[in-house]
Symmetry: C2
């Protein structure tokens, strides 16, 4: 019987796995440089957790089923609901601000295509308990720091910054509120990937009339790229006095956010772009997405505020903001940018070469000792000629060969051969516990 | 609506997650010290992969379901079938011996209890393409090295070594072959956890008569603890000439294995114990399990040879041996041994303290620079008093505080405070790109 991997799932042979480990390590280090703490949540959760957050239409994209205890369960399509549940459950004992990150697998039943698989990994970073723009700035700069940590320059990517609050004020000034506003935001979210006439048709399904003019207004707003124009827009909206105050406050929060970000690593990557609204209904304020600068491919990452989700999932009121970065689009960009070329399987520090089997006990003792000190040592699992073993040493890319049992060699000695510089010396075996660090750092020199 | 974790699944809040990361790191480092390469496989696989390997009774313990494409799929209960599939698919291009490891999640629908959850993590290490005892020795010593890397002493655990080949020879000498032999091995596997009379009853279901005497013979064999007795047993079996040769060959392979292991880190942890047979039918030679020395709890790890599985799953003939170590029983032992006490969330290298908001731009610029250099820096998300910020600095366990904007301080300077030794000096901000490494290693001394 022949077996294959399910569509949209991946086998990670060692070469590909070393790239995955590199991506995970870079994500982890970047999050830790911002002092985010790592957490993890189950891969399988009650189905209702996702329906409560996203509505029942989400189930069309899920791997969901009844378990043997007749529970409705689903493989997680995203981490945020589990995170909001966890934070909500311990909200009183967790010291704020809560800055957490995770690296984990997610699952969506979609048609596999470029940049989209059924199983994918995400880096999630979130801040809870802080409603001011400083939290948004911290996350957006972490996003930029992470992309740069892979070797991307700040000109290689763009972080498009938008604001659901501004859109709600704009829609309010047009008399569009509540569920209608959510519908219109959903249409705007899809505009970039939709036909213009199709968008107008969808808009006219919500508005009583004037969808065409409304579309022209939206397009004008979506073309704004500077803060001055954004401020003018907000100050000139027809708003009641309460909302007019909200608009002024929002201008000052934008001012704070942009000022903070100008002092971070994303200062040259940022772009005001209100065409980003993030599809999901639970976003509440600043939202953002990162793209390759040329605009190719899907979003590298996306996120924003979701100040009401913790409460919606049973916790207390808790401001929140976060982003997720997937591994698939990111890997494609890093490959296209030749930033994964040097990532390959680890080579051992040492390889043991045995010329005479009567000294293999000593070789294995030394191997055991070096391994217990944390060095990586390849030990031969069967006997072969020295020349064949030296060839193998070069193939696995070992730094140093330890050669046992050649002519004129006593059992207390070992030949230490620097495979890169092709020099070797005889050392007393007892020095093997002291000298390897120096050999690996500086090569084999004089005794 | 309130949500909770599914039974047998775990939330990893940062404290617990840091222990998980510690366990994963230790597994990874130990595998790398033996020059095993990391790989990964899907968490969701075709159900048939598990039925082909273990028989249809396995489905009673699985999370299995029909996906939206009407495929029968299952969350993996173990990694070996996926691994055997992967190795089989690329058997011709993979250089042997293939020494691979993985750290990943597995799922079994069982009653959650001490040492057993529905979701658990496993460290898997396997060697393919090498049939001799050197491969078994390499794996068993990796198992010992791994447990010692957590701080366990070689007297804290026992590796019980057994052999399915010896059992097949013993059973053959009693006229028990083929499917009957597999049945008897299944009964022997459960003896340690079963009532004696129940075992005899089960044996009499396979044997025509003499189950009582057979039981006494088995108990005698299971009490063997030294190689000399094992050799005597094998040499005195009533075997045909072909099998008698096999018995002699097996003695010499045992001799080789024990001799190799006597030069490794497990020399004091090893115990001959034929009561270990490993339940699963696909094991073919040496098998072993590791336990806490006092015998408390479930096995810490288990494994052995499975020379026919790759072929069974559609690949070529390929000798194989491997083991798996789970995180649950291991964590319990490490906790009982106080070996996880010091494992806690990472503290930042630096915490930024802002005394005057007009200097916060400079503080954020420095923060950005230090983070881009890879240092972990906590930056305040809102303004508060210096004393409150210093209290926070101690709470998060930062090593060094960078204090901006206190009295008499110009914007080109920063106060660098060593929070452990409680000394501080004023430095020029421009030195922040050069000196942190020294400060973190040696504390703040003279300028």
């Amino acid at each position: 019987m022949q077996f294959t991997t399910l569509p949209g799932f991946r086998d990670f042979y060692p070469d590909l796995c070393s790239r995955k480990v590199h991506i995970f390590d870079t994500w982890r280090k970047s999050a830790q440089s911002f002092n985010f703490l790592e957490y993890d949540a189950p891969i399988l959760e009650p189905l209702d957790l996702y329906i409560e957050k996203s509505g029942s239409e989400i189930t069309g994209q899920l791997f969901n089923f009844q378990d043997r205890g007749d529970r409705s369960v689903a493989l997680r399509p995203e981490l945020t609901p589990s995170l909001a549940r966890m934070v909500g459950a311990k909200a009183n004992s967790l010291k704020r601000p809560i800055k957490w990150f995770n690296i984990g697998e997610n699952f969506r039943y979609e048609r596999p295509q470029k940049g989209r698989l059924r199983s994918f990994y995400q880096f999630n970073a979130d801040i809870f308990g802080e409603s001011g723009p400083a939290a948004d700035a911290e996350l957006i700069s972490l996003l930029g720091n992470t992309l740069q940590a892979f070797g991307l320059k700040d000109s290689d990517f763009t972080i498009r910054l938008s604001d659901r609050d501004i859109w709600l004020l704009i829609l309010s000034s047009e008399g569009i509120h509540g569920a209608d506003a959510t519908l219109v935001l959903g249409i705007i979210d899809k505009m970039e990937r939709s036909d213009r006439s199709q968008s107008i048709k969808l808009l006219s399904g919500v508005l009583n009339n004037g969808a065409e003019d409304f579309m022209i207004m939206i397009e004008k707003i979506m073309s704004i790229r500077d803060f001055a124009s954004l401020r003018d827009l907000l100050l000139n909206l027809k708003l009641d006095s309460v909302r007019a105050e909200q608009a002024k406050l929002r201008i000052s929060q934008w001012d704070d956010l942009l000022s903070l970000l100008s002092n971070t690593c994303v200062s040259n990557s940022l772009q005001i772009d209100l065409s980003i609204v993030r599809g999901l209904a639970y976003y509440t304020g600043f939202v953002f997405e990162a793209f390759e600068s040329g605009g190719k491919g899907r979003a590298l990452a996306g996120g924003g505020r979701y100040d009401s989700l913790v409460q919606k999932l049973g916790g207390p009121e808790m401001p929140a903001t976060g982003f997720a970065m997937g591994d698939v689009t990111l890997s494609n960009l890093l490959e296209d940018s030749d930033l994964l070329d040097d990532i390959c399987v680890k080579s051992p520090d040492f390889i043991v070469i045995i010329a005479a089997s009567d000294i293999s006990n000593e070789a294995l003792k030394d191997t055991t000792m070096l391994r217990s000190l944390g060095y990586s040592v390849e030990y031969p699992l069967k006997l072969s000629s020295v020349s064949k073993q030296l060839k193998e040493a070069n193939r696995v890319g070992a730094t140093i060969a330890l050669i046992y049992g050649t002519e004129n060699q006593i059992s207390n000695n070992v030949i230490v051969r620097d495979l890169k510089n092709k020099v070797e010396h005889v050392f007393a075996r007892e020095l093997l516990s002291e000298l390897p660090k120096d050999w690996l750092a500086n090569g084999i020199t004089a005794k």
